[in-house]
Symmetry: C2
Subunit: 417 residues, 2 copies
């Protein structure tokens, strides 16, 4: 008999969770350490306690609900994702993965199964990067470094202010490492956040690997001059360099790096008024690849484009790295367990890479890890209109449950890395 989750219980929880930080547009606003974020995390632990499960919060503020094994020395199979959101986020991103993990623990417990591993449903801190991005999973795996803390995505001042406000220290974050030998594996369910599964009319995506990404701050510098009195041929207009670079990034990635993506996500002009020629343009750019060497080559090609754009318009340019997440491969046995579980449920599957970063990217470096995707309506994510059909959510939860039961047995004997 194939074990199944309690769809009604999970749905009631999903609706309750979506209320926390819920916005009039139908999405959620639960940035890291916001009131709504704290409320969601407290709600999550309370739901675990209500089911008779244990809870834990580590020094990086990762929140967990635990179903212990009979053997207190047993290693742990982790399942989970994150409850934080981007500023104008949707209800599914991260939250669905945490809820499905909780539901798997409850379903195993309800079925009276005694597994040889502890199961832990985890809500990682700051996956979305209000402060750093995959902060909690990096901290848990020991990947968080003083270097990352020195140049966080949201700015050093914000990080320090927020840590102080919530009573955490950098030392706390750096102390959250779990011994990899205590972990048996990590499984994450997530919405795809892209259009591939929907277009292929496929229920379950088996993630082959998680794309690596590099981000850069790029500053073009010219001369701020009066826009009325400075002839066109006497200008060093920083916006022209920025514009040439935006189009150049597009050309390079589509022509020379098929399968990769690159994006200029922000442009800020100084001084930024009608009547002053732009003296400075600050750009945020990122690029992604499934292969580390290809990512290196793409980074280099885009830095060259920045220099070419600056030279073309007589500008200076400065290119600073803002972050790098290496690509991660998922574990072959985890992929097989997901595929088998979906097959037992009669669900269609396909293998695909993840174009988004995830907590599993950090976990994959220290323990056998894998991800299962469910379809995103129209590929929309990071938006209040983000949506996944409820049957797809339940299908995903059932695949996660089936794989958990199989993997908890097959991974019991020592680390398999």
């Amino acid at each position: 008999m194939v074990l199944r989750v309690d769809s009604d219980r999970m749905r009631a929880d999903f609706e309750a969770l979506a209320e926390i930080g819920g916005t009039p547009e139908g999405g959620v606003a639960r940035t890291t350490f916001s009131d709504a974020h704290f409320e969601a995390r407290a709600w999550f632990l309370e739901r675990g306690r209500a089911a008779g499960l244990a809870t834990r919060v580590d020094s990086a503020a990762n929140h967990s609900v635990v179903l212990p094994a009979r053997d207190p020395e047993a290693r742990t199979l982790m399942l989970g994702s994150h409850l934080d959101s981007v500023r104008r986020g949707g209800r599914y991103d991260g939250a669905l993965g945490v809820l499905c993990a909780l539901e798997v623990l409850r379903s195993v417990q309800d079925a009276g199964l005694e597994l040889p591993l502890a199961l832990e449903a985890v809500d990682f801190t700051d996956e979305e990067g209000t402060l750093i991005g995959t902060l909690g999973s990096w901290a848990l795996t020991g990947e968080l470094s003083a270097e990352i803390l020195a140049a966080p995505r949201g700015g050093r001042d914000l990080l320090l202010a927020e840590l102080e406000r919530v009573g955490l220290s950098e030392h706390d974050l750096l102390s959250a490492r779990r011994d990899p030998a205590s972990l048996a594996g990590f499984l994450e369910l997530h919405i795809e956040q892209g259009p591939v599964l929907e277009r292929a009319d496929t229920a379950i995506g088996i993630v082959t690997g998680i794309i690596g990404s590099s981000s850069f701050l790029i500053v073009f510098e010219g001369d701020a001059r009066h826009a009325g009195t400075t002839p066109m041929d006497a200008r060093r207009d920083a916006a022209l360099g920025a514009a040439a670079f935006v189009l150049g990034v597009r050309e390079t990635v589509t022509r020379d790096f098929p399968g990769c993506v690159a994006t200029v996500g922000d442009i800020a002009i100084e001084p930024g008024s009608f009547n002053v020629v732009p003296g400075r343009a600050r750009l945020r750019m990122e690029c992604r690849s499934l292969d580390a060497a290809e990512l290196d080559a793409l980074e280099h090609a885009l830095a060259v484009r920045a220099k070419v754009a600056a030279d073309q318009w007589g500008l200076e340019v400065d290119v600073q790295r803002a972050g790098r997440w290496d690509p991660a491969r998922t574990d072959e046995r985890v992929r097989a367990a997901f595929t088998d579980a979906a097959g037992a449920l009669g669900l269609s599957t396909m293998e695909l890479p993840s174009g988004a970063g995830h907590d599993a990217q950090a976990l994959a470096r220290v323990t056998p890890s894998g991800m299962v995707f469910v379809p995103s309506l129209g590929g929309v994510s990071h938006d209040p209109t983000e949506h996944t059909a409820w049957k797809d959510c339940v299908n995903g939860a059932n695949v996660l449950l089936g794989a958990t039961v199989v993997l908890a047995r097959s991974l019991q004997n020592g680390s398999i890395i």
Copy 2:
């Protein structure tokens, strides 16, 4: 004998004025209705009173120092500019013109000349556009309209809040119109704010006309999508439209409209983060021409470029006018008076248009008006490093004085328009 201003007195005043709102970088910060702006205006009236001159403040907060004629019914020859500055402005822009006007009144008085016209040195409100731009001169000429008040450059909320804060109403602004029949003319001395006089090694610029300008808010709209999971060929990236437009503006104006300028001075991206494809790009664009029909054609050509850029990248675009200042010709007799006055002083002159907007642009619509320019070091303006050699300032003041004496006599008989 050629009359000359008191260089030492004017210099002492210049240094004292530059202290008001003076910044560590050597510039001034005197945005409209800031404390420093009020202080500068009070200082100006006080310097007039100290010289035994009359003062007046109208309902648009234009501040004036007046040397009356013997005949209380005599019309007025106005001289002046503005004491407000951009946020990080220089010491010369506007302030020099007000000081030279004051110095002309004192010099005429000191020389015991009895002119048949009243002379009025005026400091116009909000020339730089913290709130609206050439607000005081528009109000004085009756050009200020409810339409302009409804969509002010700095935003409607700011305008209303600032008016209330300083005890003014929109009705006050609209009531400040002076009967054109009471005006005999308007003379403005200003720094060039461009490199033309310096490059030509010429002391005095005689302004032929003031360039017209049109400003637009242009919004490109695409889809904000996850920058990792959205394939390059499934994007509607608003930054690509913005970039194509920025380069297109440059191409159109340099290729098809020589002598005109056009500038994209600001680009704001939404949501504006590393990992989201830009869904919206808001641009501030302006274009300028000395000829009203050419300005119409340029506006049209740039609007077409916006549409082409949007179509090229599959975006929507919206083009909204933010302002229009029509070009203004200066009065031939005023130009001749400036040229003659410079000749009598042995100073080199050249005719040139003004690429910047000025209060004289408004005054030229109702009374014979003209401008004299003095050289700007390196063409720099709207910057703390803005500089004009002191001898050039004094030369300009002497030209203004000489032209004032001649014009006060030649313009005495009725309006010459």
